[in-house]
């Protein structure tokens, strides 16, 4: 089917709010090139299960497209229209399976050396959308906190090497009660700025006690879902004719109920957690990867005002088959390796936070749990310097935020 032939009835299988949204912009959607449209539908089809920030972005994007004159639309989408697709792709069910189409399209673009052209077109389009509907500044300074190195007794190599260039390094943090203090600070911000999905706590292990207003995701809490997923993956891999692309397609089609995740009463968060486990590489087997990827996706999708992530030790490397079969009841842990993973994870946390509106005022703190080393990136603190005096965790937080 070609986009120009789209009718309202073609979206009958979409969830109610997604259908309503698409039909409201159907006239504009029909004018879009096929190389582009399924990538837009891939986001829109899950509208009912999106975070408020994502919903807002999709609505604005569709409004911006609908507001274009025909000349502007031609100009905006010319590069996409020049991308050649095959009759097979044109004949695919891209309305109801846009994610699958996007994967097949990506593979085709790589094969035909059109990936760079597509990437360039997508980058230019993204810039135009941002210019047409600039994102709103957050109501309060965004705060990111990464706590790394749980359970590590000592570590002599330098930490936070990537972050130090952007902030102030603290080597004498009086850290007693630091974890509780930081989690409480997130809770206080959640009370003061009660935005839905605005304040997050991600834990790579078992979550510590926290305010109920905080959106919490933890590796431990998803243990049953992870086990069910690994079992399903093992079963799929044994199937004749199975390959990685088919496995990914099958995983993408899963629902939270397939992994027993539907009981939380929050279908949006259930979907988020399902996607972390089915779309992230390594999130099923390494807690450090789970924490990093959850943080990345939470920032990218929910755009929280506050996000605290606490990394926990991951299991030691074993063969991938062994890891997937989850054969060790109590896996051996790699404390030092996990600290190195988390140090990089903290850097990526900051990078992803800086991609959000209000970046110039955002604050970020990374702390080696139960140790004296921390780094803070804040508009009020100098870069690439060391704070040589003793400081309490409360003092550090105030210094960075004020």
């Amino acid at each position: 089917m070609k986009p120009i032939n789209l009718k309202s009835a073609d979206f009958a299988k979409y969830a109610p709010e997604a259908r309503r949204l698409i039909i409201a912009h159907l006239e504009a959607i029909r004018q879009l090139p096929l190389s582009f449209l399924p990538n837009l539908l891939r986001e829109a089809i899950d509208y009912d299960f999106k975070f408020p920030a994502e919903r807002n972005e999709i609505e604005k994007e569709l409004e911006a497209i609908s507001a274009l004159s025909s000349g502007e639309r031609e100009d905006w989408f010319r590069a996409f229209a020049q991308i050649a697709l095959t009759p097979d792709l044109e004949g695919a069910d891209w309305v109801n399976q846009p994610a699958r189409f996007a994967e097949q399209e990506s593979s085709y673009l790589w094969t035909t050396h059109q990936q760079d052209a597509f990437r360039e077109a997508a980058t230019a389009y993204g810039a135009r959308i941002r210019a047409a509907s600039p994102p709103a500044e957050p109501p309060v300074k965004r705060l990111g906190i990464a706590i790394i190195g749980k359970g590590v007794n000592s570590y002599d190599a330098p930490l936070f090497r990537n972050l130090r260039a952007h902030g102030t390094y603290f080597g004498k943090v009086k850290s007693g009660g630091g974890l509780q203090l930081l989690i409480s600070a997130v809770g206080e911000r959640a009370k003061a700025h009660p935005v839905p999905y605005g304040h997050w706590y991600v834990d790579g292990g078992d979550a510590a006690e926290h305010n109920a207003q905080i959106t919490c995701v933890s590796y431990k809490n998803l243990e049953r879902a992870r086990t069910a997923l690994l079992k399903k993956m093992q079963g799929e891999i044994q199937r004749p004719g199975m390959g990685p692309e088919q496995l990914r397609t099958d995983l993408a089609a899963m629902n939270p109920s397939d992994l027993g995740m539907e009981k939380s009463g929050d279908p949006v968060l259930d979907r988020f957690q399902l996607k972390v486990l089915t779309e992230g590489s390594g999130t099923q087997i390494f807690s450090t990867t789970f924490a990093q990827w959850s943080t990345r996706d939470a920032l990218r999708r929910a755009q929280p005002l506050t996000l605290l992530v606490r990394f926990a030790p991951r299991q030691r490397m074993r063969s991938m088959n062994e890891l997937l079969s989850d054969s060790q009841a109590i896996p051996e842990l790699d404390f030092t390796g996990s600290l190195i993973d988390a140090d990089m994870g903290a850097y990526y946390h900051w990078i992803n936070q800086q991609r959000l509106p209000g970046a110039s005022q955002s604050v970020f703190i990374a702390w080696f749990e139960d140790h004296e080393q921390a780094v803070a990136v804040s508009p009020t603190l100098p870069r690439d310097v060391e704070w040589v005096s003793e400081i309490s965790m409360k003092g550090l937080l105030e210094l960075a935020l004020n």
Binding site: W110, T112, E245, R248, S281, G282, M320, L324, I340, Y348
Partner: protein, 383 residues
């Protein structure tokens, strides 16, 4: 930080950064300053004795973990032992599909192949091994591939009708699987396969053919092989052990080794990625040491080392930094190549752009065969 630079500018900046660092670290000079004739000897007799070893990394490593100042601690052998003896090409771009099997196949054919990265299919175009054997009339035993995972077992020869007699591919993990008769006890750490999609780990198969390779070609008993395997810690260590054994027993003139350990990066664990780089660094030096200690190879071998491509940059919003190579950004497409040994100028840095598909035509120019269907160009420094 590469904000606001286009693809070419980022690629050039990466190249300059490698150049400046290596100049400082090794005292190398710029190749553009050299005007003398090629150091390669092209006489027929010399070419018959010539050995070529190519080491590729099937799992790119980025500059910040290798040749940038902050990465140098991870590559002490490449930097301190091999780079000072080498010609170093700072700007090698891969404009093809960034999957490890298809990219390695492209390196081996000199054409950007478009085969399915996850299928065990032969390349569409003739491989360097086929050109080598056909044009120079070399026997099967004179060229070998040591490859890391299931997907690579068809890389030795193409589906091209007028060629088709290429290299024997040896898959060390298959050997081990065959030697252990399917029981993987104690060897799982050596049998890891396919990091590129960690969600999918194909079942390894080993059979009588592999046992025959062990016995007839490598002159190894199953017991000796397994005893040694117990001392190893990774699949790449196993590959290098097999490669060294091949060098001793068969002395192939064209040996291609593909390493894979660092591709564990796809699991998202940074520390394991760094461990993989450090191991690869050490193993490259081990191969070079083996060249020096084997009379068939000493003073007669040119070694090429190159990653198949890079990995995504930290700041590219489409990716997740070191974990993957999916964005097609400049960092994931731009890499380097080191050449050392027979006929190679030492301590020279070349920063003019070359492509990864230029390798095969260059090997042809050095060894005297004609890769007619390759689309790359011979690197002029080797002519």
């Amino acid at each position: 930080m590469y904000g606001f630079l286009n693809h070419g500018e980022v690629s050039q900046r990466l190249s300059c950064s490698r150049r400046e660092f290596l100049r400082g670290a090794t005292g190398a000079v710029l190749g553009s300053a050299l005007t003398s004739a090629s150091p390669f000897v092209h006489g027929q007799k010399a070419q018959q004795k010539r050995k070529i070893i190519v080491i590729t990394f099937g799992g790119g490593a980025r500059d910040q973990e290798t040749f940038a100042p902050e990465g140098q601690e991870n590559i002490p052998h490449l930097l301190n032992e091999l780079a000072p003896q080498s010609s170093f090409f700072t700007r090698v771009t891969n404009n093809g599909i960034l999957g490890h099997y298809v990219a390695t196949a492209s390196l081996a054919t000199g054409v950007y192949e478009t085969l399915n990265n996850f299928s065990a299919v032969p390349p569409d175009h003739p491989t360097v091994f086929e050109y080598f054997r056909k044009d120079l009339r070399r026997p099967l035993s004179d060229t070998w591939v040591v490859a890391p995972s299931n997907g690579f077992n068809r890389i030795g020869e193409s589906g091209c009708r007028s060629y088709g007699s290429g290299a024997t591919v040896i898959l060390p993990k298959h050997l081990l699987q065959a030697a252990t008769s399917g029981s993987r006890h104690n060897f799982d750490h050596l049998l890891r396969d396919n990091y590129e999609d960690p969600l999918y780990t194909p079942v390894l198969k080993g059979n009588d053919l592999e046992l025959n390779q062990l016995d007839r070609i490598l002159r190894l008993s199953v017991d000796d092989f397994m005893t040694h395997a117990r001392t190893l810690s990774s699949p790449d260590e196993l590959s290098v052990y097999i490669a060294k054994r091949l060098m001793r027993q068969e002395s192939p003139s064209l040996l291609w080794i593909t390493m894979h350990d660092m591709d564990i990066a796809h699991s998202g664990a940074y520390s394991l990625y760094i461990e993989g780089i450090r191991r690869t660094d050490r193993l490259c030096a081990e191969i070079w040491d083996a060249v020096q200690s084997e009379p068939e190879y000493k003073d007669n071998t040119t070694l090429f080392i190159l990653p198949d491509f890079g990995r995504d940059a930290d700041l590219d919003a489409g990716g997740n930094g070191f974990q993957h190579h999916r964005t097609g950004d400049a960092a994931s497409r731009t890499t380097w190549m080191m050449a050392l040994g027979k006929g190679v100028r030492e301590r020279v840095i070349y920063d003019q752009p070359i492509q990864s598909i230029d390798l095969v035509p260059s090997l042809g120019a050095i060894m005297g065969f004609s890769p007619q269907l390759a689309q790359g160009k011979p690197i002029k420094e080797f002519l």
